[in-house]
Amino acid sequence: MTPITRIVLLLGLVLVLGGRLFSPAQAATDLAPLVAALGQGGYDQTEQAVNAITATGDSRAAPVIQALGDGDLYARKSDKSVVIARRKGSDLALTDPITGADLGTAKSSELEKVRVNNKLRRVVRSAIGTLTLMSPDRNTRLSAANAVFQARDADALEILDTAIAKETDAQVRDAMENARAAAILNSQHPEAEKIEAVQRIAALGNDDALKVLNAVQSSAQGDLRTAAAKAIAGIQRDLAFWNAGQNVLYGLSLGSVLLLAAIGLAITFGVMGVINMAHGEMVMLGAYTTYVVQEAIRTSAPGLFDYSLAIALPLAFIVAGAIGLVIERTIIRWLYGRPLETLLATWGLSLILQQAVRSIFGPNNRQVGAPAWMSGAFDVDHLTITYSRLWILVFALAVFVLLNVLLRATSFGLQMRAVTQNRRMAASMGIRTPWVDAFTFALGSGVAGIAGVALSQIDNVSPNLGQSYIIDSFMVVVFGGVGNLWGTLVGALSLGVLNKFLEPYAGAVLAKILVLVLIILFIQKRPRGLFALKGRAVEQ
C-alpha cells in the first residue's frame, strides 16, 4: 500500500468518524449532492456517483446504494431529485434516500427508474461492502465481510486493510481476513501472497471456500494452481467426512425415534410374546395426552407452558398404561398361546381406538407446541443440531436405561424375567403370574405412551400417528431380536443410521423400501434377529 492511498484512506476514516459527530441535517447536506448525482442518467455517470459516495465512507449511504441495487431508486421527473420508491397499492410510496423521511406517494409515470446493468451491480455490491465494513454495528460488519468474500472484489482490498487495522472483534476480524484473502486471489498481487491466501481459504473448509478455490484453479497457472488443487482435494475430503458425520447424526436421531416407538413393543412382544398391533395407538394416546395437557395449560395457567412436557409424561404413562391394563385383563389374557388370534384382536382394538380418538378430537392434526428449551439449534463445527432432536435422543436413551434397571434391579423385573423363563416354576414359587402378565403389558403400553409425548414434538398429532410407527417398530424388534432390550437399542440405531446413509443415494422412499427388503432378507438369514435367545427359550 502506497503512503498516498494510506493517507486517502485515513482521510476517509476521519470522514466516517467525523460524520457521526455531525447532526443528521449536516450529513444530509454533505451526501445530498452525491446522491443527487445518481439520478443524472447514463451508467457511467451513475457509476462515478456510486464511487464518489463510497469514497465518503458514510455508512448511512449504504441503504441508498442498496436501493439502487434492488431497483428501488428513482429520479423524480419534475425536479430531478432522487428518491427511494416502493410499491404501495397502485402507486409508489416515496422516501427521502438520506433522511428516510416520508415524501408521500407518486404515480409510476412521474418517476424514472435509475437503471443498473451488471457491471453497475458489481460496483454496487462492493460499494455496500465497503460502506458497511466501517459500520459501528458488529453484525453489519460481519455480513459485510462475508459479502466481500462472496464478491472477491480486489477493489475492496484497501478499505479492507483499513477495516482490519481498526477491527477489535476477533470473529469479525477473522471474517475480514478471509475476505481479504479472497480479494487478493482476484487481484494483481504477487503469487506468493496468493498462495498464502489459498492456504488461508483452504483452512475454512466449507462450500464457499470450495467455490473460491475452484475459480482460482480454473484461471491460475503453475504453483498457485497446484496449491489450489491440493487445497480443494483437502476440503473435499473434509466435507465428505463431515457429511458422513451429518448422516450418522441424523441416523441416530431417526434411530432414537424408532427406539422410543419400539421399546414398549420390545416389552410386550419381546418379553411377553404378545403381538400388540394396538401398540401404535398407545403412542398416539400419549401424544394426545400431551395435546390435552397443553390445552389445559393454555387456558388456565400459561406460565406453566415450559413444564407441559414434564407434566404430560407421567400422565401419558398412566393413561396408556391403564388402557393397556384393561386390554390385557379383558382380551389378551384369553388369547395367550394363540399369537395369531392376539394379532387380530389387537388390530381390531387399534381400529376402535383410532376411531374413538377421531370421534373425540376430530380427524385433523392437532397442534402441539414446543417449550422454549426444545426449540432452536446450535452448531458444532459444520453440523447443525436441533435441540428437539437432541433431547429426544437423550430421552430415548434415558428410557432405555431406566427400563433396563427396572428389569435387572427390581423385584418386579425379577418376577417378570422369571415368568418369561419358566412360567410354571415361577408360579410354584408363589409369583402371581397373571398379575405379572397384566403389569408387564401395562408397563409396555405406558412406555409407548411416554414415547408419544416425545414424538408429539416432531410428528403430526393425528389419529393415524400410531399407524406410521407400527410396522417400523415391529421391524426394529424383530431385527434386534426378541426378548432382549439391547437388541432393540442396536436394531433401532443401526436401522436409523442405515436409512440415512441410503437416503442421499436412493431418495427417502426408496431408502425405506431398501431397508425393508434388507430386513426381510436378514430375517431369512437369522430368523431370530440380531441378538437371538439361545438355549431352551428358543423353542417356544
Binding site: 381390531g348 381400529l351 377421531r358 412360567r423 410396522i471 431369512q524
Partner: protein, 397 residues
C-alpha cells in the same frame, strides 16, 4: 387329473359350486332380460357391487387355503391381489389407445404427463389379453414363490412370517406410490374404456364380468376342495397342526407350504384381475397393510378351514361395510374393530365352522357313537388354555 377334481366334489363343495354357477347364470339374466321397472330387475350398479364382493370372496378363499389349511397367516395377500389387478389394469390401459386425454396411441396418459418418450420394457406385451392373463397368474405366483422359498426354507414361521408378509406389502405400497415405478404413482391406473373390444361400462359387459367372477370363485372352491381332499392336502393339514412332527416323519414342510402359498397367490391375482374392471380403478392403496388384514377378518368371520366360510364371511363383512359406510360412516371402524375382537374371543371357528361343529356334535350324540370321527378339515383349536400354558407349543399357530 379328472379323478383329482371329481374326488373334490363332496356334498358341501358340490352345493357351493352349483349355487355359484346358478348365480352366474341368473343374475346377468335378471339384469339384462327384465325391464328396468320390473320387481325382478337388478340394477347394473347392484350387479357390479356384488361382482366386487365375489372377487373379495375369491381372495378370502385364497387366504383360507394358506391360513385355514396350512396355518400360514399371511398379512400380505392384498399384495398378490393388487399385483393381479395391476396386470389387468395395464392391459385395460393399453386398450385405451389413442382415446386418452393426450391422444398418444402408444403411451398411457400418465406417461405422457410425466414426459416419458418410450414405453417401459415391462409394459410391452400388455396390449394382448392372453399375455395379461398369463401375467395375472405369473407375477403374484412368482413373487409368492421367491418370497416363500426364502421364508419357508429358513423356517420363518408364526408371527414372524405374518410380520414380514406385512412388511412385503408395505414395501410394495411405498414403491407403487413412486411415479418413476411406471405404474401411474399415486393415481394408479384408471379411466378404462373397453375390455376385449366390449365397452367396460355397458350392462352386458358388467353382467359377463359378474358371471366370470362367480365362475372363478367356483373354480377357487373346486381347487381348494381338490387340494385338501388329496393326499397332499392331508400333509398340508398335518403341517398346520404339527410341523415338526411332519418333518420328522420325512415330509418336507417347506415344499408343502410353498406350493399352497403359490397357488393361493395365483388365486388372489385372479381375484384382483376380476376386481379391477368392475371398480374401474387400481391404485397403490390396494397394497395398504390394513387391506390385507381385512381379508383375514373376512375369513375368520366366516370360518377358516371351512370351504364356504370365507365366502360367507367376505360377503357379510363387505355388505356390512357398504351398509354402515352409507348409513353411519363414523360407526364402521368401531364395528369392524369390534368384529375382530369378538370373533377371536367368542367365535374362533367362525360362523360356518361353529354351525358345522354344532351339527356334527349333534349327529354324533344322536348316533351315540363314541368313535372318533373328527374330520381333517377342521382346525384343531386349543382348548381355552389357562395362562399358565402360554409357552407350550401353540397348536393354532
Amino acid at each position: 387329473m379328472s379323478h383329482f377334481f371329481l374326488r373334490a366334489l363332496d356334498r358341501q363343495a358340490s352345493l357351493a359350486i352349483l349355487a355359484l354357477l346358478v348365480l352366474a347364470a341368473v343374475v346377468p339374466a335378471l339384469n339384462l332380460l327384465t325391464p328396468p321397472g320390473s320387481a325382478l330387475h337388478l340394477s347394473t350398479f347392484t350387479v357390479s357391487l356384488f361382482g366386487k364382493y365375489l372377487t373379495y370372496a375369491l381372495l378370502a378363499v385364497a387366504l383360507n387355503l394358506v391360513w385355514g389349511y396350512c396355518g400360514i397367516l399371511s398379512l400380505g395377500h392384498g399384495a398378490f391381489f393388487a399385483l393381479g389387478g395391476y396386470a389387468m389394469g395395464m392391459y385395460l390401459m393399453r386398450q385405451i389407445g389413442s382415446r386418452g386425454v393426450y391422444g398418444n396411441p402408444l403411451l398411457p396418459d400418465f406417461m405422457v404427463f410425466l414426459n416419458w418418450k418410450t414405453l417401459p420394457w415391462f409394459w410391452h406385451g400388455f396390449d394382448h389379453f392372453w399375455f395379461a392373463a398369463i401375467m395375472v397368474l405369473l407375477v403374484p405366483g412368482l413373487l409368492a414363490f421367491v418370497f416363500g422359498w426364502f421364508a419357508f426354507r429358513s423356517r420363518v414361521t408364526g408371527v414372524y412370517l405374518s410380520i414380514i408378509t406385512q412388511a412385503l406389502t408395505y414395501a410394495l405400497l411405498l414403491s407403487f406410490f413412486r411415479n418413476d415405478m411406471g405404474f401411474g404413482g399415486n393415481n394408479g391406473l384408471t379411466d378404462f374404456k373397453d375390455i376385449l373390444g366390449f365397452d367396460i361400462q355397458s350392462d352386458a359387459t358388467r353382467s359377463v364380468l359378474f358371471a366370470a367372477s362367480a365362475v372363478a370363485l367356483a373354480l377357487g372352491v373346486l381347487v381348494t376342495s381338490a387340494i385338501i381332499r388329496s393326499k397332499y392336502g392331508k400333509i398340508l393339514i398335518a403341517v398346520r397342526d404339527a410341523e415338526s412332527r411332519t418333518r420328522f416323519l420325512g415330509y418336507r414342510p417347506e415344499r408343502v407350504k410353498l406350493f399352497a402359498f403359490v397357488v393361493s397367490a395365483c388365486m388372489a391375482g385372479v381375484a384382483g384381475a376380476l376386481y379391477v374392471p368392475q371398480v374401474g380403478i387400481i391404485n397403490p392403496g390396494e397394497f395398504a397393510p390394513a387391506n390385507s388384514i381385512e381379508i383375514v377378518i373376512w375369513t375368520a368371520v366366516g370360518g377358516r378351514a371351512t370351504l364356504i366360510g370365507p365366502i360367507v364371511g367376505a360377503l357379510l363383512v363387505n355388505a356390512g361395510k357398504s351398509f354402515f359406510t352409507g348409513w353411519l360412516p363414523e360407526l364402521w371402524l368401531f364395528v369392524l374393530g369390534g368384529l375382530f375382537v369378538a370373533v377371536t374371543l367368542f367365535l374362533p371357528r367362525g360362523i360356518i365352522g361353529t354351525l358345522a361343529h354344532g351339527w356334527s356334535g349333534l349327529r354324533q350324540r344322536r348316533a351315540s357313537s363314541s368313535a372318533e370321527t373328527g374330520t381333517d378339515a377342521e382346525p384343531r383349536l386349543p382348548p381355552d388354555m389357562p395362562a399358565g400354558s402360554k409357552y407350550e407349543p401353540a397348536a393354532a399357530e
